[in-house]
Symmetry: C2
Subunit: 210 residues, 2 copies
């Protein structure tokens, strides 16, 4: 495929779950892009250059021609609407709505899990500390919702969508750290984790953690 003029900015440690989501989206759609890194630990997201590209100073940011867009779910919807290839979101309005709900929920709730099981425990080394009571409560809430949506199906929306990868990452914060999680959810997360697009992100060469 010819040059589409796509550049994706991700964190230099390849650890942002939202950067991963966009990376996976681009790989699933087989879109060529240039990958650039921003060192969040060094505060490079607040540097003038990047702050003028992403006004919110966040990663990921996609640049398409001279259009710069941050927030992963906005980016992946834009990719899905703009380019051919594998659908990232279902066409059916109710299924698409469910995929959007799950993405929005994973980005705004379950904070104790995100804090106690940061993605460094997935991409560098597992956690050595048990979950707090608050995180255990959040894990129960996560399992309740995920089981309710999945029932006995393979995918959240009856067909694969990017929300499956996002949900799998949240579930793997628990499963890959040996925290309690229903077997059916651990299996679901493992299946998503094996997608080539996801494996490519997992296998990125990462700099040492400071």
């Amino acid at each position: 495929m010819s040059d589409l003029g796509l550049t994706l900015y991700v964190d230099a440690h390849f650890s942002s779950p939202y950067a991963m989501s966009v990376f996976v989206a681009l790989k699933e759609k087989q879109l060529p892009f240039e990958l650039k890194t921003v060192d969040l630990h060094a505060g490079d997201n607040r540097a003038d250059d990047y702050a003028h590209t992403s006004l919110t100073q966040r990663v990921p940011t996609l640049v398409h021609g001279n259009f710069a867009l941050s927030e992963s779910s906005a980016i992946t919807e834009y990719l899905d609407e703009t380019f051919e290839g594998v659908a990232l979101y279902p066409r059916d309005p109710q299924k698409r709505a469910r995929a959007r709900q799950v993405q929005a929920w994973l980005r705004s709730d379950l904070m104790p899990i995100r804090e106690e099981r940061p993605t460094s425990t997935l991409f560098y080394a597992p956690s050595q500390t048990p979950l707090s009571e608050k995180a255990m409560a959040a894990a129960k809430k996560l399992a309740f919702a995920a089981e309710g949506w999945l029932q006995d199906r393979q995918y959240l929306c009856g067909e694969w969508s990017l929300a499956d990868v996002d949900l799998a990452l949240m579930l793997n914060r628990l499963a890959l750290n040996g925290d309690p999680i229903p077997k059916v959810l651990a299996y679901y997360a493992q299946q998503q984790w094996q997608r080539p697009s996801v494996q490519e992100w997992i296998k990125m060469q990462r700099p040492a953690l400071a």
Copy 2:
């Protein structure tokens, strides 16, 4: 208009900014709906009945027939795709992407502002305490992004979208509490605040705060 079978669940204090966003969306599209309240202070969102409607136990939740959907931005996109009426999101893919970005950003960043200027300071009584340094930094970041997006225009995306109301609410957490904010942004927020759909939410009869 005939009964569309729409029920909206909001918090009993009419203070959730996300409940407000969906309420405004329904009013802008002139869709009839039944409004039901959930007392979050009493934990009614965790009660069996509601937890089985919204698996994530959050407000707002829209029920359409037997489809239940939470997360405000997923709900308002669903409304826009499913029903006629005023467009809540721009049709142009890049403008629509920007509206989505802003909604996602307001829901996942700027935490110090959300904590120190909760919506009770908008709908009950203003805050009496000054902003912390962290919140001042977040306010600067908010102003930088908002000015960058708006330039000298009246709307974020060149035409009105629901993201304007969401952004106005965030700006008003500062403006209506007398915190420093560029005049052009205070004016923008004030204009959005005067929309009849927004005024209807503001003027809701609220129970006393416990």
